[in-house]
Symmetry: C2
Subunit: 203 residues, 2 copies
């Protein structure tokens, strides 16, 4: 048995993300990952023994890649301070990275769907969502913008719907600039936040 | 070969929807549908020759069921005239039908994901979305509410995100009453519609 090599583990998990985005959940097997990663047959099952372990590896690597992608946004997180800047940055996350972003978003969606059937995936996905939401809350508070949990979750809900709709354009009536839609939704939801009168400098 | 019986076709398509919601796209095979529908092996492939044909049958039946479910909402469509009433009705569609709604929403999501890989599914899904959006537009115009396509699509985007988030509650920070979230998002998006000053009786 080869030593458990972290770089190789990451390489296999990245290959698994590609396979998941390309073929959906049913395509994700140890064999297809071996093939896509161009490693000898049996390598993936050596690192991730069970199908559950393979799925969990994908979830962990997707969470890691979320922060890697975010760190490539110039000036992050300072540049996400205002709704306008945040809209630009989030739009990049959702759609601006061509193939890489598409693969990431598709894998994320497949992961969440699989988590309905495979509860072991939920803690990683939940933790990622908590971290993303808390970071948004910190940015809002720094700007004196509403940061109640309902408003933050509603922004998250809209972004999830947009991510889905950009992947599935037959669910839209026309082509949109996602940054513009994010900015409008952001503004609309901030303006209807329950606690904004309590906050300094809001509105 | 048995005659092509419409009732049996519908029965098989309904079984396929159950299988899709339960097992995901990879579980949807002629064999699993035979089994779930409790019909002799080979029946499903007799009615729907290819895997493509089986998927298209699911898409058509999901579109049909959308309207069947809507027609069970008392007083539809008059009761969807105001944002408040619409929020209640849409909330029922998304979450209020216990297992039936959950199966419908999961199957719809799997269908849309599969349509990324299987273009033959897109026309049915596109047509359903167009009909739903146009109906929302008609309701809005009757009430003097904004009915521009961007606003209608943004409401659709939010609802899609909510549908997803209710199926995947680990992406939310707390439990919500979906009707309340829909009403708030609805109001927020209507208030930021570009053309509302041109409309009578809005606001």
């Amino acid at each position: 048995m080869p030593p458990q090599n972290e770089a190789r583990k990451k390489h296999l998990a990245d290959a698994a993300i590609d396979v998941l985005a390309r073929d959906g959940g049913h395509g994700l097997t140890h064999r297809t990952v071996d093939k896509h990663a161009a490693v000898p047959t049996g390598t993936t099952s050596n690192y991730f023994r069970t199908r559950d372990a393979l799925w969990v590896a994908v979830a962990n690597r997707v969470a890691e890649r979320h922060w890697e992608i975010i760190s490539t946004i110039e000036g992050f997180p300072e540049k996400m301070a205002t709704p306008n800047e945040a809209s630009e940055a989030i739009s990049l996350m959702l759609t601006g990275m061509a193939d890489e972003g598409r693969i990431f978003n598709l894998a994320m969606l497949e992961l969440n769907l699989e988590a309905i059937r495979r509860p072991g995936l939920r803690p990683t996905l939940h933790e990622l969502n908590e971290l993303v939401t808390r970071q948004m809350g910190i940015n809002h508070r720094l700007q004196g913008l509403p940061a109640d949990r309902e408003t933050l979750d509603m922004i998250g809900i809209f972004l999830r719907g947009l991510q889905l709709s950009m992947l599935m354009p037959w669910n839209l009536g026309q082509a949109y600039d996602p940054a513009r839609l994010i900015e409008r939704a952001y503004g609309a939801l901030l303006a209807t936040a329950p606690d904004q009168t309590e906050l300094p400098g809001s509105g």
